[in-house]
């Protein structure tokens, strides 16, 4: 019985209508293609980049982020849900239309009548109708949700008049689709109309309004054309409105975004050739950077996550990307700097990577910022304390400018071996500038070193031979200062045959892991929490003691979000750990990354003050950290709020537990 089930394609439409239909389809696709080409031409103004597409990763990105619409960290759950409804609904109807097309041309090629379908019949037809009627509802529901949000003038999203046209087109297309279906059911007297349940409902309404087989044809004809014209208009308008993000996003996701925390090197030859460093003009971005500007739909998830924005700094990653996108549309883009993007905006970024991480479509706002910072550094547009830090790194190899002979002050009385004293070390303890020169961080290094000693680890330190890793210099845009420091350190590592490095600084860790291999420095680099975690697992050390007093743990951006190290620190913390709302890979920045450590901000205006409140709100007596910068920012922030909460590195918490037993066991 189901064999007869089908519907006539182009039913109720004469040959003239078909000719006009195909003419319109041709025009509409032409306009669509021209619109896409216009964008492609804009993207091609950028520098070509030589990376090849990694097809496996491209496919995976498209599958998870586009097709599966996988939500990232549960950001904006309602909007994400509405988007899924709209996207999946739209996609199903799009595929459905293509299937109808295949059926139509297939049967035409097979020389069949339009009433004798190839496959658009029977059980297939039942599934098809039920599915499409359902997904149509999803699409309309999603679009209505977005329309409702726009009606409320929600300030978290950007409003353009054209958005109304987009949303109303989608809704009208969906609704008229059902109405036409209803009219078709009356006209063709389709068998089993209940499978097209929404359309069937519409047909009932039409019938009760007096529509019958005698008068249905003209109404069907009129509405069918109305629907078709809007559909063609919609296709033509797609590359010109906000929906263009869907096209750019396919490219953006296919060209896999760089791993978090990785930067592209610049060579001195390039600089000598062009006389410029970094991005001062739009054309100096790569083609991928430019196409990603079009992938930005201005949803604002990055802005929600941005710690600088939270602190009221003049930076919104979304606005930055949108400003760049608007500039790309102007015929002769002038300088990016100054009017388009203020230097205050660029310096506000902590490179915490939250925006890079959250963007569902692979846009990397922080990468634009670091590229543009390189230009500012090249132009000498950095003043005051941060500029002095760079000068000091340059002349003394550390941001405080202090003598290299003082690098072992922290180790006084501890019998620490340098690579000279113990050339056959297994692991190098990279101390970093903070522990070498900041009296507070020295205590962290003392704790780490004592734990390593008591666990009989054969380690050594570089002492006066160590130089700043250059991490913050690189993220501030001073690429060549970084390269100089990295080259010096790599030479030192080679001289001392360094294979494995342990460090308590996540910034040094990320630089040694992701920056140094670009300059042929390949080492196994672990964080002290990972290394100590292994020693605890091996029974050589104890984790921090169980305690009644609650402890909260602040994940450093470069440890958790960028390098994914979230479990190791937690295995070392006491069981009274109370998590902050934003933790693990979704941590919130303390405010010191990206060179912000060297900027002089009044305590009340510091990025990260919201994070201090969050930590205090846990009611914990101790805030555990695992980064020297976080240690400084947390301590200063808590002091500024007159709170009496201790801030300790995890190694220091472990010392409390372990030192006691050493006292007992070695009298």
């Amino acid at each position: 019985m189901t064999e007869d089930l089908s519907r006539e394609i182009f039913g109720n439409l004469g040959e003239t209508s078909k000719v006009i239909f195909y003419a319109l389809a041709f025009v509409s696709s032409g306009v669509f293609a021209w619109g896409v080409w216009r964008r492609v031409k804009l993207w091609r103004r950028g520098r070509p980049d030589n990376e090849c597409i990694d097809w496996k990763e491209a496919f995976q990105n498209l599958r998870t982020r586009a097709l599966a619409q996988r939500s990232l960290h549960g950001a904006r759950p309602k909007a994400s849900f509405a988007h899924r409804m709209l996207f999946w609904g739209f996609l199903a109807l799009f595929i459905g239309t293509i299937l109808v097309g295949i059926e139509h041309y297939g049967s035409a090629l097979a020389g069949r009548e339009s009433t004798e379908p190839l496959f658009h019949k029977g059980v297939y037809f039942i599934i098809y109708e039920i599915t499409l009627d359902t997904f149509g509802l999803l699409m309309i529901g999603g679009a209505m949700w977005f329309a409702f949000r726009r009606m409320r003038r929600d300030s978290s999203i950007e409003h353009r008049t054209a958005d109304w046209l987009v949303l109303s087109s989608i809704i009208v297309l969906g609704v008229t689709g059902y109405l036409i279906e209803g009219l078709r059911i009356i006209r063709e007297d389709t068998a089993m109309p209940g499978i097209s349940y929404v359309g069937y409902g519409c047909s009932k309404l039409f019938s009760s309004a007096g529509v019958n087989q005698a008068n249905v044809s003209s109404i069907h004809f009129g509405l069918w054309w109305f629907h078709s014209v809007i559909a063609f208009g919609f296709i033509a308008a797609l590359p010109f409105c906000r929906l263009a993000h869907a096209i750019a996003a396919v490219f953006s996701l296919a060209y896999s975004p760089r791993p978090l925390g990785r930067m592209e090197p610049v060579t001195m030859e390039e600089v000598e050739e062009t006389g410029e460093v970094g991005v001062g003009r739009l054309e100096q971005f790569t083609q991928r950077d430019l196409l990603r500007l079009d992938a930005c739909v201005s949803c604002g998830r990055c802005e929600d996550m941005c710690p600088a924005h939270e602190a009221g700094k003049p930076l919104s990653p979304r606005d930055l990307v949108q400003d760049l996108r608007k500039l790309m549309e102007t015929s002769s883009p002038s300088s990016l700097h100054g009017e388009t993007i203020g230097s205050e905006t660029l310096w506000a970024c902590t490179t915490c990577n939250a925006c890079n991480d959250i963007c569902p479509l692979g846009v990397r706002p922080a990468d634009y910022i670091t590229d543009m910072r390189r230009h500012l550094i090249g132009e000498g547009e950095l003043r005051g304390a941060p500029a002095a830090s760079l000068q000091k790194m340059q002349r003394a190899g550390n941001p405080w400018g202090l003598p290299e002979q003082d690098r072992l002050t922290w180790a006084e009385g501890l019998n620490i071996f340098t690579v000279q004293d113990n050339p056959d070390f297994d692991v190098l303890y990279w101390v970093g500038c903070s522990a070498a020169y900041d009296p507070r961080t020295m205590k962290v290094a003392r704790a780490v070193a004592q734990l390593l000693q008591h666990a009989d680890v054969n380690f050594a330190v570089l002492g006066p031979e160590e130089r700043c890793s250059g991490e913050s210099a690189r993220r501030m845009g001073d690429e060549f200062l970084f390269q100089e420091l990295a080259a010096t350190n790599i030479e030192t590592f080679t001289r001392h045959n360094v294979k494995k490095i342990v460090t308590h600084c996540p910034h040094c860790l990320n630089s040694l892991r992701q920056d140094y291999p670009q300059f042929d420095g390949h080492y196994e680099v672990v964080h002290h929490t990972q290394f100590l975690g292994e020693l605890v697992a091996a029974g050589k050390l104890k984790a921090a003691a169980a305690s009644d007093e609650t402890v909260t743990y602040h994940d450093p951006c470069y440890l958790a979000r960028v390098n994914g190290i979230t479990e190791a620190p937690r295995t070392l913390l006491p069981n009274s750990l109370k998590e902050m709302p934003r933790h693990s890979c979704q941590t919130a920045c303390c405010g010191a990354g990206g060179g912000r450590m060297w900027f002089d901000d009044p305590a009340t205006e510091r990025t990260g003050s919201g994070r201090i409140t969050e930590a205090l709100n846990t009611g914990s007596k101790t805030v555990a950290v695992s980064c020297p910068f976080c240690l400084t920012m947390m301590t200063d922030g808590i002091t500024a709020k007159d709170a009496t909460v201790k801030v300790c590195d995890i190694a220091e918490l472990m010392m409390n537990e372990n030192a006691e037993s050493w006292d007992n066991s070695d009298p």
Binding site: G380, R383, G384, A387, K392, A396, L402, P403, Q405
Partner: protein, 250 residues
């Protein structure tokens, strides 16, 4: 308009200094040098004048130093000075004779404005600007925190112990920069490399017709032990006792 900026190289104040064997000078072998921070402020101000009031201005950085002092002049060039002049001279030289050498340079170059640091952070003499103005017979404005161009000269803010003094000087003039005049820009490595292409002229006091006649003779130097120790006291009485013991108070 020509702006001449005398630049002194000074030992990096963050590093530890050592004395030479006979304690007559600091041990130069272990020292890293930097451009005197007050002179960097003067360079920055010259650049700002060129960026705003006088785009045609030519900025000349001058230093009196041994041949290797060219490195520190390059910082001024990297910041944006147009050319540099190094008057090669080994050993110490007192402020009066520095002023004489600079005056000789100025007679050749004929700048309209001398912008320099109020003092160098090594010997903190704070004399060259004043001597130079006297030798040239030019107006001087010292400890300057703001410079504005007027139709017939400069309107200047001077930082004094009792507040800001606003004066007017005619050009040519000698102006010495105080800390708050500006924040100097950062010269990154590519700009330092680019600066290598800018012209640096070498000269000597003799070529300028100057034979230094020292008015000050350095008798000796002594390092001060700057090691600080910390001690925790529990009560205010303890603190008073400790201060009395160490003869800080009576």
């Amino acid at each position: 308009m020509k702006i001449l900026v005398p630049c002194k190289r000074v030992p990096d104040p963050d590093q530890k200094l050592r004395l030479n064997a006979d304690a007559t000078d600091i041990d130069g072998s272990a020292v890293t040098y930097i451009l005197n921070p007050f002179d960097a402020i003067a360079v920055e101000e010259a650049l700002r004048i060129r960026e705003t009031a006088h785009p045609e201005a030519e900025i000349i950085a001058v230093s009196i130093a041994p041949a290797e002092g060219e490195t520190d002049l390059r910082t001024a060039l990297a910041m944006g000075a147009d050319r540099a002049l190094l008057i090669e001279h080994e050993g110490q030289i007192d402020p009066w004779n520095v002023a004489r050498i600079l005056a000789a340079v100025i007679h050749q170059e004929k700048p309209a404005l001398i912008l320099m640091g109020k003092q160098a952070v090594d010997d903190d003499a704070n004399q060259v600007g004043q001597f130079l103005a006297a030798q040239l017979g030019w107006p001087q404005a010292t400890f300057v925190s703001k410079i504005e161009f007027t139709t017939d000269g400069l309107r200047i803010h001077r930082e004094t112990d009792i507040g800001i003094e606003i004066i007017h000087v005619t050009l040519p003039a000698v102006v010495t920069a105080d800390l708050r005049l500006n924040e100097p820009r950062y010269a990154s490595l590519p700009s330092i490399l680019k600066a290598k292409k800018k012209p640096t002229e070498h000269s000597t006091p003799a070529k300028l017709g100057i034979k230094p006649e020292p008015r000050i003779r350095l008798l000796g130097m002594e390092l001060i032990d700057s090691q600080r120790t910390c001690e925790k006291v529990t009560t205010a009485t303890d603190l008073l006792d400790r201060l009395r013991e160490s003869e800080v108070i009576e």
